[in-house]
Symmetry: C2
């Protein structure tokens, strides 16, 4: 067993300030999105979409939606993880397509029925946003691995962010991930003990 994954996990921290006028390449962003894309999700629904953002105008709009907090204001790029809420309707084409794939050559009806009951019982928007955290965790670790600083930002004006990204109705921003070269060293790690 190699010890290196825990090294990456230990090296990740929320970067609060990025070096100005640096860029994150499209190649770097593509690897981050790939890490997110491969994340697990309940029912295999992958209820997410990833929006990489590098343009100055959009970055400014995203930063505003994040109350211009320093990590957002100086980020070289963002990946916004968007929850697909309306697509999770049990009768949507999206769900049908995902379950057809998930069933492989089998019958998708049992999983579809189980999901129908689940969807009725659940606050689906909040659930979808929670599922997005699987993908976000992958992206944050991959960013660390690529030597990028990252900051997950959950405190944003959802309406302003949706407008900036022109999200269609039924899609909700789940998490903003600010990216760049971190301008500070890792702070002392704060974590409660296991027990």
């Amino acid at each position: 067993m190699q010890p290196d994954l825990l090294d990456v996990i230990q090296q990740r921290y929320a970067c609060r300030e990025f070096v100005a006028n640096q860029s994150v390449s499209l190649g770097e962003l593509a690897l981050l999105v790939e890490a997110g894309r491969l994340a697990p999700s309940a029912f295999g629904l992958e209820p997410w979409r990833f929006i990489p953002v590098t343009s100055k105008a959009k970055r400014t709009a995203i930063a505003h939606a994040c109350q211009d907090q320093p990590a957002a204001a100086a980020a070289a790029a963002f990946i916004v993880v968007v929850a697909l809420v309306a697509a999770l309707d049990p009768d949507s084409k999206y769900v049908q397509k995902q379950f057809k794939a998930e069933a492989r050559d089998g019958d998708p009806a049992p999983i579809h029925e189980a999901y129908r009951a689940f969807h009725r019982a659940e606050s689906i928007a909040e659930w979808a946003q929670g599922q997005c955290n699987f993908a976000a965790a992958h992206i944050l670790l991959q960013a660390t691995h690529q030597g990028l600083g990252s900051c997950p930002i959950g405190g944003f004006d959802a309406a302003a962010l949706s407008a900036a990204l022109r999200l269609p109705p039924g899609e909700t921003p789940a998490l903003v991930i600010a990216l760049g070269r971190c301008a500070h060293a890792a702070p002392q790690r704060l974590r409660k003990a296991f027990n």
Copy 2:
């Protein structure tokens, strides 16, 4: 940049059946819990607890709560990720302690006030469960890295599971992670395309 984290991410898959009569050592479980413990969380609240389970009697009870699905029935061990819901009350000692740490030498009042507004607006149990997915993603990747098979199980009888684990009121199981030596090879990867 080393390519190996994406390798780990690509190698992870939901193992649906484990080799019988294998064990997962306490040392292996300790590394998995450490991976989860270091996950990020909003407001630095770490609203989770990890319960490693190896005893036969408890494993059987957990498998029952998971409808005896194959991945649960033959798991050599579990880590149950538990959401701390009641502890997230803005006036709890838990929150006060976390924010005092989060503020480091500064004043915890601003973050506490922001959190108070957040807590009022949010479905806090679902939110806490969603936060647990950050930790779960770390654990699943770390298991892959350690050569262990894993299966995240969200479909369980929460009351039965809480009883099996003797969870106090105010704690809710968020995810069961079944662990062991996987009895099958990686299935063909199913993922929707990025665009």
